[in-house]
Symmetry: C2
């Protein structure tokens, strides 16, 4: 047939639905499909036509999260300059995705048995490689493994995003707080 896709009536903006769902589920991970639909301004039926079920929706959100992370990783240019500068850029680029990331981070615990999306492994590897680069260049200490630093970064993103949404930390301090704690820790430095 001739009409390839959606020639006449524009289908519901899938992107917008995903964004709305992400924003809602970030705040309340147990939100109903009904609530998700309302949040997106569409009916439950239409939501269901786009995503076969809650499962499919979460998977789509996972894909979205992975895309955002990979976009952030690209924009952060992890190979440029010092490792600490790259970490700073990385956190900045990740900021907008932190909420979604936190949601997916906790949601992953529920999948338990199932194999996790390969995208996360790639992302983990790229972040861990950055920390490894910092270790090899002598910038970072070598007694904290890249795997742990990566994991810790996720944890700080999640708690940071939550603290901001709860009003315990100002949104404008998000990047600074995370970067400074991750890189420098709580102790005062004598040196430069």
């Amino acid at each position: 047939m001739s009409h390839v896709g959606y020639g006449c009536l524009m289908a519901v903006d899938r992107e917008h639905v995903l964004r709305s769902a992400a924003a809602l589920l970030t705040r309340r991970a147990t939100a109903t499909m009904d609530e998700v639909a309302k949040a997106a301004g569409i009916s439950r039926a239409t939501l269901h036509r786009q995503f076969a079920g809650r499962d499919a929706l979460v998977r789509a959100l996972e894909e979205l999260g992975i895309q955002e992370c990979e976009a952030a990783l690209g924009a952060a240019r992890l190979d440029d300059g010092t490792a600490r500068e790259a970490v700073r850029r990385l956190v900045g680029e990740f900021e907008s995705a932190a909420g979604l990331l936190g949601f997916l981070y906790t949601e992953n615990q529920l999948f338990e048995g199932e194999e996790q999306n390969a995208g996360w492994s790639r992302i983990d590897a790229r972040i861990a490689a950055l920390f490894r680069r910092g270790q090899e260049s002598g910038e970072f200490r070598i007694d904290l493994t890249p795997a742990w630093l990566t994991e810790a970064l996720y944890g700080l993103f999640a708690s940071g995003a939550w603290a901001v949404s709860e009003g315990r930390v100002a949104a404008k301090d998000f990047q600074y707080m995370i970067v400074e704690l991750l890189l420098g820790g709580a102790l005062r430095r004598e040196e430069s």
Copy 2:
């Protein structure tokens, strides 16, 4: 009547039930009441006799978590020695409760509207006071707020406990990894 409580047949070991539930829910936050009962080695009926419902069970777990945290806070003697030593002791004492803490930390997001247990505020305050003491003594930097350091500590506990349970970090490194990252950060130190 004469028999005050459980004179004859010992009631189901409430403590044991709570421990089992904590262990299970730490791994799978969505576990069924049935599974919780099985994990504790009792029937669902008995579980219901002890805890009016899932809600009551979670509240009881929250109380348990608060108790453990306050016990840990006491054992860590936050007012003794340098603040960094106190932080080290604190993380060590919290280690056994980290899994439960992580569960409750994420579970709290679901309660959304409701007011959170006052116990957490007390605990937050004690931990934040420790960081503040470190700042006032000149040990800790002052540009990271005590509130954020407290929040970050929770996040590191959660991600640390999860990383251990996933096998990405060795259990024996738990305390070291968290303390070193929290206090010293990822950067190498030139000074002592």
